[in-house]
Amino acid sequence: MNNSHSFDGQFEFKGKAKTWSLIMIAIGVIGLLFGFLTGAGERTFANLLLNGYYISCVCICGIFFCAVQYVAQAGWSASVLRVPQAFAKTLPYAGIILLVIICAGLFITHTGPNEEGTSTTLPYLYKLWALKGVTTPGNENYDAVITAKSGYLNVPFFLIRLVIYLGCYSLLGRLLVKYSNNEDELGGMLNYNKSFKVSVIFLVIFGFTVPLFAFDTIMSLEAHWFSTMFGWYNFAALWVGGLSVITLTLIFLRKNGYMQWVTEDHLHNLGQLIFGFSVFWTYLWFAQFLLTWYANIPEEAAYFYRRWEPQFKPWFWLNIIINFLTPLLVLMARDSKRKVSVLQVACIILICGHWLDYWQMIMPGTVGPQSSWATEIGPIEISIFVGFAGLFIFMMLTALSKFKSLVPKKHPLLEESLHHHI
């Protein structure tokens, strides 16, 4: 080995990182209680769904990142793989949290107006299609559009699908982590080849199911509306959001004296991916917007009409501005991708930006407009986001600290990664 790095150091999860993540979780719990106790139950549930979906997506992105690297037989990333692997290890927990939120939202009910405005018993989440009697002709909640979709969009099949998606991703992610750990012990090409195969299988399953995952979890909140672009649009958000979290994690680990073999060249590559896929995200956002705007068919335009309400419009535009202009203006230059402080700020902006992206996908169709645009994002939104960020940091760093080494020591392409120059 032609390098001076010691690979035996394990990550220790303690001190400031642990304290702060626990404080953040506490803030989230306070926000949660505040939401329920002040009678904003539906809003709190919408926020829980938002953040549960966000951290699941970030974890899925970790597996997707590993799988892409293995399938492309990429060498540059070998030395950073432990971070996305820690994300992969976190997915089962994040997935269970998401499922618990969705089950609670489906089965806990409250009284509120249905689509026609009559007062009825509604579930907290997916009230449009999961309320009682929605498919029974003559019932006050009967909805012909939902009835036509109910062969696919019904509660048992919905939950089965979610379990299958999250279960498949978690399982394949676990396998990738397991092979990588075995590789550390045994060396050789056997585990690399196995990882390659699992990655191929994952990418095929992921490619077909990730749009459905977005359709089910988010698009069905406004079940009268549909867009075939929505799945890929969500995939782009998942990929950019996840890459930003991976990059930010690497930057923080480096600052705390870990992973010193990660150079500005690796960060440059990650910055390029973030930049490129932010443009891809904008492309999909615009493709969805332009066609809807041009055709102006009422059932399609309903989605944007809701986001055109004065309470949502500023956020709607802010979303495209920060998620497109930040990477375009900040990350286009080579030097800014290689400068840790700039990249760090860009990542933080993009992480918040994609939170806002998910926020404006979810809120207009669930909670609806509040009194003014400024109160749309209030203490509940912020504290629950902070809480889930803390939860993710806690779970992910715990998973990371379980690895015996912070680098796949016997990865066949490790040398290439350690001498990566661009």
């Binding site: 615009f286 332009l290 705007w293 041009y294 102006n296 001498h419 120059h421």
Partner: protein, 178 residues
């Protein structure tokens, strides 16, 4: 006064050539340029080359393309011959974005290619000029401007010691494929 214009050190191995660059730099011999059949990692940094300015050219061409088509579309669809398309306003910015994007990309791509050809004298139909034929095949060539770099024999010895398989003293800067 010798008629030598350029001294070329031909190496058979990239590592030996890198060693040759080190030796020359240690002896304060300025290097004119290095020609290799394949890209070599870290050579830009070693030679202290400045970053390429092609990116700036690309950016300018992109701006030019975007502006050109946006103005054209504006003139045609808003000013000269406004049409009612699906009841949309004549100046419908979302409609203009795809074509603006496409022209930006088109101008960037062609502009970059032409700038590159211009900067490297590589226009199609023009016979390329090289300092040594084998630099595109199996030799790694360090070129030294002979003017002012004397004594030439010492440079020759330095290159030989560093592992050059051949040292040429050329009276002309370029050989041509003609």
């Amino acid at each position: 006064m010798s008629s030598t214009k350029y001294i070329l050190g031909l190496f058979a191995d990239p590592d030996e050539m890198m060693h040759g660059i080190d030796t020359l730099q240690k002896n304060s011999v300025p290097i004119y340029d290095v020609y290799t059949p394949m890209p070599i990692h870290g050579i830009e940094r070693k030679l202290g080359l400045k970053d390429s300015r092609l990116g700036y050219a690309a950016f300018m061409f992109g701006c030019l393309g975007g502006t050109t088509i946006f103005s054209m579309a504006y003139y045609m669809l808003v000013h000269d011959w406004p049409m009612n398309i699906g009841g949309k306003p004549a100046f419908a910015i979302p409609d203009f974005i795809p074509i603006t994007f496409e022209w930006t990309v088109l101008f960037t791509a062609f502009g970059m290619t032409l700038t590159f050809f211009y900067a490297t004298h590589l226009f199609p139909g023009r016979t390329p000029r090289v300092m040594d034929f084998r630099a595109t095949d199996d030799r790694f060539v360090i070129a030294i401007d002979a003017k002012g770099n004397i004594p030439h024999d010492e440079i020759t010895n330095l290159l030989k010691e560093a592992g050059a398989v051949e040292v040429k003293h050329n009276d002309r800067k370029y050989v041509s494929y003609e």
